[in-house]
Amino acid sequence: MAAAAELTLLEKCLGLSKGNKYSAQGERQIPVLQTNNGPSLTGLTTIAAHLVQQANKEYLLGSTAEEKAVVQQWLEYRVTQVDGHSNKDDIRTVLKDLNSYLEDKVYLTGYNFTLADILLYYGLHRFIIMKLRHRLVKELPPVTASIQGWGFSRVPGSNSVCEHRCAWQVLLNQRVKFVFANLRRSCPRHWIKQKCTELRE
């Protein structure tokens, strides 16, 4: 997903109405936002954090010092590790590491949904889709079980390709928007499960 499209999607999720225009810079097509009242902002996570503030949803950047640092750390991870690599081994390492990090967590900061979850989700999206397309999906459950649970829907008992695909597609189309419209800080785990089940049906 091009950075500009990603930011536009984020704007919608945040309930920002006006719709910024983004230009792209350099070979890597780094997004640039021309703000009304100041110099332009460059960089995906920089602009994303700025949008979150504009939408008065600062809690998405974390509330304690620790959370704030963790959020920024994963944002950095997104643009350096996830975006930076395209060879299979690197991708595998990224997925494996994330998977083991998320073993005992609901979200990247623990129990609070933040901007880091959104951007990392967007960033991983292309890998997972690629995997599905290449029918490597059999590797998926053991490697990325908890990522799936985190990013999409921890659907009890869903292991087959088809079900995964359904979960992904649902998520692609609705999940993120939905999550944004409804989720509040510290949302309990069972609540997500329930929503996921709803979605599935």
Binding site: E27, G43, Q73
Partner: protein, 900 residues
């Protein structure tokens, strides 16, 4: 909380500085771990520094750790800081880790290292100076400053990597480095060993991915459409309306061209190619082609322009070549001079003079400069230990010795420089030296030599540089190279050689010696001019009125920017010294390297046989000109650029504009009634034209070419939006609109033909003939866009300018030029004689090889005298070499021999 660090891990610097600055160092427990220890349980690859929080969670990102410390001290995050940290992680770190890896692990130095980070450093410098803030994110130092300072410190603490031009960066860096938390962090991490303290850590790290297949980008930077003020539009329209009237009278071509007081006088040189090498594409773009574009541009500006070059003919290499080919050195020079001249003629290089260095003028001027240097005490005498090959009975010039590099152990280091580590080598320091001709081991003999006393000339040199460099257009790499030479201390430099083929040394006791080519080759520019006009001193002893532009690849910088200026300053004869030294980086060939000594790549004389016109070669080479960073010649890219930029963009636009005039208006330029959109377009084109001028005045040749393509893109869009081919069939108003659009478009095409002249002279002339552009307009380029084809002007016959390059055509060319030129098989100079031998000759040579092989085997079987065997082996090798050349095959590498 516990901080895990590792000896020499660069990330410790910002982390410790931030902890100090945010006053949380007291709460930190610090544990030192090995560089390969996995501290963070969920990360596969080891990572330090890592901060383990009291919650048990880990922070493994250096910036995040620093941020955490700052957040604890009550600091609040802001957009600007976020932006800097994101830039640090995505742009600075990849460049910096590559640079540190080069410097610390691979032992590279200077420009190799600096070129990796130049862009990033310039970005910081510009941001600081543009905002005129002392710190990155405001008036006080903050998180962004600490993180970037910490990242940069290991490199920038060596002043060599912090050039003075980057003034704002310089003072920012100094300010931070002097602060207590930063100082303490630096002491703890670098332990006063400088950057080498990082070695234990960096050695254990994989090579940074930014270095693997370091992408050499041939892509342009983004174009942004500027916003125009009403005033600018009005000015552009006014200039346009004046049309041809505003052209000054064309100055008649002078012969000889001489400088005129009060006018702009531009003297241009391109590095003298060494006569016995056929230049490859990299040489052509670095020297003659770049200089040619600038010379043509300079003439379009009506500046008095003299562009000269010539072959550098003296030296051992010529002597050896002569021996090989059984000719005299003079005959060799005569033969190859013609080859060079032909190649440049084919590439349409507009020399005023293409001379040579083996002339009486060269002797006269060189000896004069030398005598003056002697008289002023700038020449020293000393005994030199030198390698002499007893088998060949001569002293060996640096380039005729090969051996093991004393610094890095590379096995095929040349006598003057190691190709691997890039260090300059004194030939007698080579381990296991070998004569490159006969492969026997040379001995060290002593000989009397003369030296230019560079240390004594250091002061005038520095004074001159201080006066010349600021505000000049010396390329950053040239500045850097000169600065590092001066920093490392100037040493006396030998200017004589034990040879016959050279300029004789006019001093008693030196009758059998000649000047070292690098003392007198740069004097070649003067003597070549002297052969062109007896008034040569008007150019070369006239520093007040002449701007001297010298073009070269970066390896030539020391001789032009330092050695020659020292000779000239020492001679105290008011010589014109280089005002703008324009050095390119290197051009690579596909995935490998062009190399004079190994003969890999496409060479000048072969370009003609590809069926691709010279202008297309010129265009593509200039499009990828290694300006600011290395670039690569790629066949696929050439096809792409030809088909997209030339055919679909430029050619398409110019052709359509002309065709509309012919088809819809009977070949006469229609009446133009400008609307506000047209005026805006005029202003955009004018702006782009001015941009083109600014760039070329600064000799940014590659960038200026983009301006041409941008204008034609605007033009294509303009036609596409206005659809003259539809409107011509419409109402009266529609037809008028079609006329205006066509008229404006064809005038843009005319402008493009002039802007294109320095780059593609033949195509430019073709367009001008098709459009019947009035002669004065063809030879002058003003800074404004004029209506040069007014309503009623009749154009000529329009036809397509470019041809599509097909995939299979390019594929077969790639095959043809890669055959036997693979990296592993160096092929010295084979290209020159490849096609000359017939089958009979080959048969004769094969027989001789067999015969000689038998002799060698016999001798070996008899356990004959070593020297005798060596001599016969040398003969055999020579025969094999001749055979390989005759067959056009790559040589068996001598490396294989060693392994046996």
């Amino acid at each position: 909380m516990r901080l895990f660090v590792s000896e020499g891990a660069p990330g410790s610097l910002p982390v410790l500085a931030a902890a100090g600055r945010a006053q949380c160092r007291a709460e930190l427990l610090i544990s030192t771990v090995g560089p390969e220890e996995c501290v963070v349980p969920f990360l596969t690859r080891p990572k330090v520094p890592v901060l383990q929080l009291d919650s048990g969670n880990y922070l493994f990102s250096t910036s995040a750790i620093c941020r955490y410390f700052f957040l604890l001290s009550g600091w609040e995050q802001d957009d600007l800081t976020n932006q800097w940290l994101e830039w640090e992680a995505t742009e600075l770190q990849p460049a910096l880790s590559a640079a540190l890896y080069y410097l610390v692990v691979q032992g590279k130095k200077g420009e190799d290292v600096f070129s990796l980070v130049r862009r990033a450093l310039t970005h910081i410098d510009h941001s600081l100076s543009r905002r005129s803030c002392p710190f990155l994110a405001g008036e006080t130092e903050s998180l962004a400053d600490i993180v970037l300072w910490g990242a940069l410190y290991p490199l920038l603490q060596d002043p060599a990597y912090l050039p003075e031009e980057l003034g704002a960066l310089h003072s920012w860096f100094q300010t931070l480095s002097s602060q207590e938390p930063c100082q303490r962090a630096a002491e703890t991490v670098l332990k006063q060993q400088g950057v080498l303290a990082l070695r234990p850590y960096l050695q254990k790290q994989p090579q940074p991915s930014s270095l693997e297949g370091r992408a050499v980008s041939n892509e342009p930077e983004e174009e942004e459409l500027a916003t125009l003020s009403e005033e600018e539009i009005a000015m552009a329209v006014a200039a346009w309306e004046k049309g041809l009237e505003s052209l000054p009278p064309v100055q008649p071509q002078q012969n000889p061209v001489l400088p005129v007081a009060g006018e702009r006088n531009v003297l241009i040189t391109s590095a003298l190619p060494y006569v016995n090498n056929v230049p490859h594409l990299g040489n052509i773009i670095g020297c003659v082609l770049s200089a040619d574009v600038f010379a043509r541009y300079s003439r379009l500006r009506q500046w008095n322009t003299l562009y000269l070059c010539g072959t550098d003919e003296y030296g051992t290499a010529t002597e050896t070549k002569a021996m090989e080919e059984g000719l005299t050195p003079q005959e060799i020079c005569d033969k190859y001079h013609v080859i060079h001249a032909d190649i440049y003629r084919w590439f349409n290089i507009s020399f005023d003079i293409f001379g040579r260095t083996t002339t009486p003028q060269q002797t006269k001027i060189t000896q004069d400069i030398f005598q003056r240097l002697v008289a002023r005490g700038f020449v020293l005498q000393d005994t030199v230990e030198q390698l002499r090959c007893e088998h060949c009975a001569r002293f060996l010039a640096d380039r005729f010795v090969e051996g093991v590099c004393p610094f890095c152990g590379y096995e095929e280091a040349r006598g003057d420089q190691c190709d691997k580590c890039g260090k300059l080598i004194n030939a007698i320091e080579l381990k296991k030296p070998q004569c490159k001709v006969c492969r026997s081991c040379p001995v060290v003999k002593s000989s009397q030599h003369l030296f230019l006393d560079l240390p004594k000339l250091g002061k005038p040199l520095e004074e001159w540089l201080e006066k010349t460099l600021p505000g000049s257009d010396w390329t950053p790499n040239a500045r850097f190279i000169i600065r590092s030479w001066i920093r490392d201390g100037l040493k006396p430099r030998c200017i004589t050689r034990d040879l016959k083929w050279g300029t004789p040394v006019p001093l008693v006791g030196f009758e059998n010696k000649v000047f070292y080519v690098w003392f007198d080759a740069t004097i070649g520019y003067l003597s070549i001019t002297a052969n062109y006009t007896d008034q040569w001193e008007k150019w070369w002893k006239n520093p007040e009125q002449v701007s001297l532009y010298q073009f070269m690849a970066k390896d030539n910088v020391p001789f032009h920017g330092l050695v020659f200026p020292c000779s000239a300053l020492g001679a105290e004869d008011n010589y014109t010294l280089v005002s703008h030294l324009i050095a390119t980086e290197y051009l690579n060939y596909e995935d490998g390297k062009f190399s004079k000594s190994r003969g890999v790549g496409v060479f000048g004389d072969m370009a003609q046989d590809t069926g691709i016109p010279a202008d297309i070669w010129r265009f593509y080479l200039l499009y990828i000109r290694p300006e600011g960073q290395d670039s690569a010649f790629s066949w696929t890219d050439m096809l792409l650029k030809n088909n997209s930029e030339l055919l679909n963009n430029l050619g398409n636009f110019i052709n359509r504009a002309g065709m509309f005039v012919s088809k819809f208006f009977g070949g006469f330029v229609p009446e133009m009634v400008l609307t506000s959109d047209d005026r805006r377009l005029l202003a955009h084109v004018t702006l782009e034209l001015q941009h083109y001028h600014q760039l070329l005045e600064k000799v940014r040749i590659r960038d200026a070419l983009r301006s041409i393509l941008t204008i034609s893109r605007h033009g294509n869009q303009y036609i596409q939006v206005n659809e003259p081919w539809k409107r011509i069939k419409g109402s009266e108003a529609d037809r008028q609109r079609a006329g205006t659009v066509t008229g404006l478009a064809v005038n843009i095409a005319a402008l493009l033909s002039i802007m294109l002249q320095p780059y593609m002279p033949t195509v430019s002339a073709t367009i001008q003939a098709q459009l019947q552009l009035p002669p004065p307009a063809c030879s002058i380029l003003l800074t404004n866009f004029l209506c040069t084809l007014p309503a009623g002007h009749q154009i000529g016959t329009v036809s397509p300018l470019f041809q599509k390059l097909e995939n299979d055509q390019i594929e077969s060319l790639r095959q043809r030029f890669s055959g036997g030129q693979a990296k592993a098989s160096p092929k010295p100079a084979a290209v020159e004689t490849m096609t000359t031998a017939g089958p009979q000759q080959i048969q004769v040579l094969m027989d001789e090889v067999t015969k000689q092989g038998n002799i060698v085997r016999e001798l070996k079987a008899q356990k004959a005298d070593k020297n005798q065997v060596a001599a016969e082996v040398a003969k055999l090798l020579d025969l094999k070499k001749q055979l390989a050349l005759a067959e056009g095959k790559p040589l068996e590498t001598p490396k294989g021999k060693k392994k046996k």
